[in-house]
């Protein structure tokens, strides 16, 4: 059975193809009774317009692509990304866009993804998760001239739009909090220095100490990889140095670090304090009760999509930037309640 086309519906409702098209697209220039008649035929026949034909004729696909470069290894392990994706998806649904997923696990993947997202008439816009420095993928995407919004501050972001949170400032605030509580040897488990988030949060840690006249002990700065296991290993390296507080660049790393600390018999926060970053659900449970920096992740995701849609509909220049503010959530692991 051949697929129904506009022409079929037109014939069956005794109007022209154009009129059916107007009905389908909610164009007001159709007499009400005609519209009703056409709608009835559409309903009866179960007609669905052909998406490809529509895209070809209108030059709009109503598809957005979420591109995760290979530098971002934790897309599937860090709860943060789940919430982000959820926000993106909500906004897409709301605006009737479909989200396509492009995840580069390897550099071969990246090679394959580049051409795939560059195809004309495929995506209306691209959401790019900020990746490593010197990423070839993003350069390529920029060249396609497609509307593009980077999620997180990009490395070379001269003329691209992006959304980010105030990572440096938030980290600074978190470390100020630890300083105010009287901790003396504050260490940090930083995210990878290949990512801007990793860099920015570490920078916040440095600034906080410097601004309070504390020296920076480089041995108390350990770089890790935004995973639970990574946080655990980082903490094992930190433990012999006897820090009395740790600022972790993400909650999931903080959780790994706390596991390492507990295993050596340290009590939290009595013997050692922790502050994380993200406010993932696990951090809110009574056993964890992690003091952390809350990011408005879902709002963040929504913002990214909405900026992208704006770019699609109203043109790209000048690049838009949105930096969202965060909030320090004080729970138990920083020891605030006992030291207050």
């Amino acid at each position: 059975v051949r697929n129904l086309t506009l022409e079929d519906i037109a014939r069956q409702s005794g109007v022209s193809r154009s009129t059916v098209s107007r009905v389908v697209n909610n164009n007001p220039n159709v007499r009400e009774d005609v519209r009703a008649r056409v709608l009835q035929v559409i309903e009866r026949t179960g007609y669905h317009p052909n998406a490809a034909a529509r895209t070809l004729a209108s030059q709009r696909s109503w598809m957005l692509g979420l591109v995760i470069p290979r530098g971002v290894r934790t897309f599937f392990t860090d709860p943060y990304f789940l919430h982000l994706t959820q926000g993106l998806l909500q906004a897409c649904n709301q605006h009737r866009y479909t989200l396509g997923l492009f995840l580069a696990g390897s550099s071969e993947d990246e090679e394959a993804i580049g051409p795939r997202v560059s195809r004309r008439g495929f995506l209306d816009g691209i959401l790019f998760q900020s990746g490593s420095a010197g990423d070839r993928l993003i350069e390529r995407l920029v060249r396609t001239q497609l509307p593009l919004v980077v999620i997180g501050r990009p490395f070379d972001g001269d003329d691209v739009s992006y959304v980010d949170v105030d990572n440096t400032d938030a980290a600074r605030t978190a470390v100020f909090h630890l300083i105010r509580l009287g901790y003396q040897r504050i260490a940090t488990i930083a995210g990878p220095s290949t990512l801007t988030v990793g860099l920015d949060r570490a920078e916040g840690y440095r600034r906080a100490l410097t601004e309070r006249g504390r020296p920076i002990d480089e041995s108390l700065i350990v770089e890790s990889d935004f995973t639970e296991a990574g946080g655990y290993r980082a903490m094992q390296r930190l433990l012999p140095l006897r820090p009395d507080a740790v600022f972790a660049g993400s909650d999931i790393m903080a959780i790994g670090a706390m596991r390492a600390a507990r295993e050596t018999g340290l009590r939290i926060p009595d013997d050692i304090a922790f502050v994380g970053f993200d406010d993932i659900p696990l951090s809110t449970t009574p056993v964890t009760a992690l003091t952390t920096v809350r990011q408005p992740v879902q709002a963040f995701g929504r913002a990214a999509v909405e900026i992208l849609i704006d770019l699609i509909e109203n043109g790209v220049r000048p690049p838009r930037r949105v930096v969202m503010t965060t909030e320090l959530v004080v729970r138990d692991t920083c020891g605030a309640s006992r030291r207050a």
Copy 2:
């Protein structure tokens, strides 16, 4: 600057449009020197074929849709889905398909998603996460006649293809294990009875007891929702009944349940044993060391995609079914080492 078309490339390389098309599609019927010349022009101009035009002419979009109905509330909280999606994505990348995400958070979402995935010429096939009984969405998708593979046993699966794991059998094996270790009051925290996974694993629990001549105490069967918090609450209801072992329908629920047990001072496995289902990464860590049923999640995801592609390329009938086997992974929480 107008977009390049096949015609432009053809003119610039002094051949016909068809020849360029052949080159682009790797059709062998092109003389090598001609191919080289055309390829050069394509390279130089940065030409990319238009995806919509291609889809329209060839009736293939190279897009698959992953549809998550609203009955599945844990897509973003259960690590299981992450691994599944990862498997799906790997397979899609490998076969050069793009995966589109359709997540229904509400019934309005479902209403909106239905027409969106039903559009002709949009998706080549659908991956549907098995949802609740009487789901209207799946009926609708079946009617579209699009190739469809259900992930997990569907409720009314007379003539749809699906992939699943041997849930009942695996659960039965897990409970046999507890029985063999000598536990007397074995409880279960079951998944929602609105999902086939929930039902099937509970059924396995029942069968194991029955086959060993044990009576079934309905009060030891508590239904929960595949979340950590749900597992915690379920355990709180179970604790007064003093079970000495618990089979949880998912790892994440087992983890919540163990948290509840520990909070009342119970030691695991000395005072109470646990077995989970899924083998998520957290279960493998030394502190958790959860005895559980390992599912081949990524292989499972890959299988789903590969069956779907097969369906797309070779037709739908008869429906294909794949049931993958699982494996009991014995760690510490079942107390096997002490009781052996």
